[in-house]
Symmetry: C2
Subunit: 333 residues, 2 copies
């Protein structure tokens, strides 16, 4: 497949820059995957080394695809935010130890092609819109419960966004007036009652008081150990109270989703992230039931609630498709 | 100005179809008003007669503008919903007594030009975006507290909407879990604690128990009489408790606006409707303060909260500008 002499720029890179790992895929103009590569991020090694590693990961993915770098039409990167989308700068990413890193410029220089950065959650929702569970829907909402609860929206083929920031911060929609304190400084945000830490804290209490023997045995009452997998196994093993805690947390997400449905009338709500992947039926079913219970009659069953179809690959693939759309729409220089 | 022989289609009609009155304006291609007309709607007289009256109102507005009907390039109508936007049908408008009225078809036949219908609130927000308080902003949210609390969003020059319905039902965002019963069947919707009926009921109780002597004297404790004007006069005359009730209701709207800011990151939030027009400073100030108090640090002061600039004309003017955008973008037949 390699053909360095060919001038056609027919390949796209989709890149997922995470705190733990980075992943690159090479896709052709029809968004068919040709090759990929992944490496550990190791943010503690410093900005320069990680930037080199990103470039190396892209080169290795191109090698895997047997595609010369000269075939690159563009690069899309899903990054943790906040970002300056116009200038392509990662403003602040504590997981990477990055502040004001001009990622777009670095990549454009290294590969002599346009680069586009997007919020990682937005890129993931775009991936599900383009390839996955929300394929070609007019309006797709993505909700990713984890330590925080991320959200994104693709509306008529475009990522909805703030002027120079991401939007769809569904984790910070207030669901309990004067509720628990949130990391953001507000009270009663969805995250405070339905994020992984809220679920873990409720579960730890239940385990500690003897109501969740399986969880107590496998994970104890330490929030650090009560992760999605431990919750899922404890439910499977028969800890009824843990099932109830997860169901009620998902129900709270359904209330916030109902508000989003009243505001944006999406066709599809895609759920992803570790909690959903560990307990897809329980989570998706509870969110769907609660959302339908909390919308006005005319919106009942006007939307589908579905699990992510692409799993870990959504951000990487979405970033490639988004880059293709943005670069193709831009006026040529 | 009249020139029936001229083939140029350079005039647009903006129409506001309300339950009480209907208004038409004639605008030129640069959206400069040339003439207008208004009539009482009188929905009780039946669909046929009201449709005739709509046509007559447009003809009278054209006469006022000294423009021949042959100059019409298109007609935009802001209607109460729900609507079938593609087919241009008013599905159900209780205020008019209408069910499944093919308004677009009727107008296109009568005037031999394209007609476009839009939700009245959406058209109003588009009017404020195009001509008024949210002029050319990237993302404008409109909030119109009244008996219900209507909402709309113009994002990058387009009205955000559901597939075949309006969206931005901010009045039905849940702000009080297990709160008061809403007309929509849900509990704790914003309308139930911040709509005119909620404010009127709180005020009637205060008046009845002797805490709002001015309101008691002018309006009594009958919800039907406690309208925006009566509330404004009672506050002016010194009824402190009424001021507090209005301020707190506006504060609740600010909480819902904060959620919308987390979701859509608007640049401008435009407030309109009878309550806001009667008490602009009190209302706008309270919503702005509360919204800023309830958003994450990075969103504080990232938006402006402003009163409507066009008042009663926003829907009529917005409908004309929207029709021009839609008709100009459509492929020619």
């Amino acid at each position: 497949m390699s053909d360095a002499s060919r001038a056609d720029r027919d390949c796209w890179i989709g890149f997922d820059l995470g705190g733990t790992k980075m992943m690159a895929a090479v896709l052709d103009g029809d968004m068919k995957p040709l090759g990929k590569e992944r490496k550990k991020t190791k943010g503690h090694e410093g900005v320069e080394i990680v930037l080199e590693r990103i470039i190396k990961t892209i080169r290795d993915a191109l090698a895997d695809a047997e595609a010369a770098p000269s075939r690159l039409a563009g690069i899309g990167v899903g990054c943790p935010g906040p970002l300056d989308l116009e200038r392509g700068v990662v403003i602040d990413a504590p997981n990477l130890g990055w502040k004001n890193v001009p990622l777009k410029e670095v990549l454009e220089k290294a590969f002599d092609c346009p680069a586009v950065i997007a919020n990682d959650v937005d890129a993931g929702v775009f991936g599900e819109y383009h390839f996955g569970a929300g394929k070609n829907a007019r309006c797709v909402i993505g909700v990713f419960p984890g330590t925080g609860i991320g959200g994104g929206c693709v509306y008529e083929g475009k990522i909805l966004r703030g002027r120079n920031r991401t939007c769809m911060e569904i984790g910070h929609v207030q669901v309990v007036p004067y509720g628990p304190l949130c990391a953001c400084g507000q009270r009663g945000c969805l995250e405070t009652v339905a994020g992984r830490m809220a679920i873990a804290a409720e579960s730890a209490k239940a385990a500690f008081r003897g109501d969740a023997p399986h969880l107590m045995e496998t994970a104890g009452a330490d929030l650090a150990n009560i992760r999605s997998g431990a919750l899922a196994s404890s439910i499977k093993a028969g800890d009824k109270v843990i099932e109830r805690i997860v169901r009620e947390a998902a129900g709270r997400i359904g209330v916030a989703v109902a508000s989003v449905i009243h505001l944006l009338a999406p066709d599809v709500v895609v759920l992803g992230g570790g909690l959903v992947e560990a307990m897809p039926d329980l989570f998706v079913g509870s969110v769907a039931k609660s959302a339908n219970k909390h919308v006005m009659a005319s919106y009942v069953d006007s939307f589908r609630v579905v699990p992510c179809a692409l799993g870990d690959d959504s951000t990487m693939l979405g970033a490639a498709a988004w880059a293709r759309d943005v670069v193709s729409a831009a006026p040529r220089k």
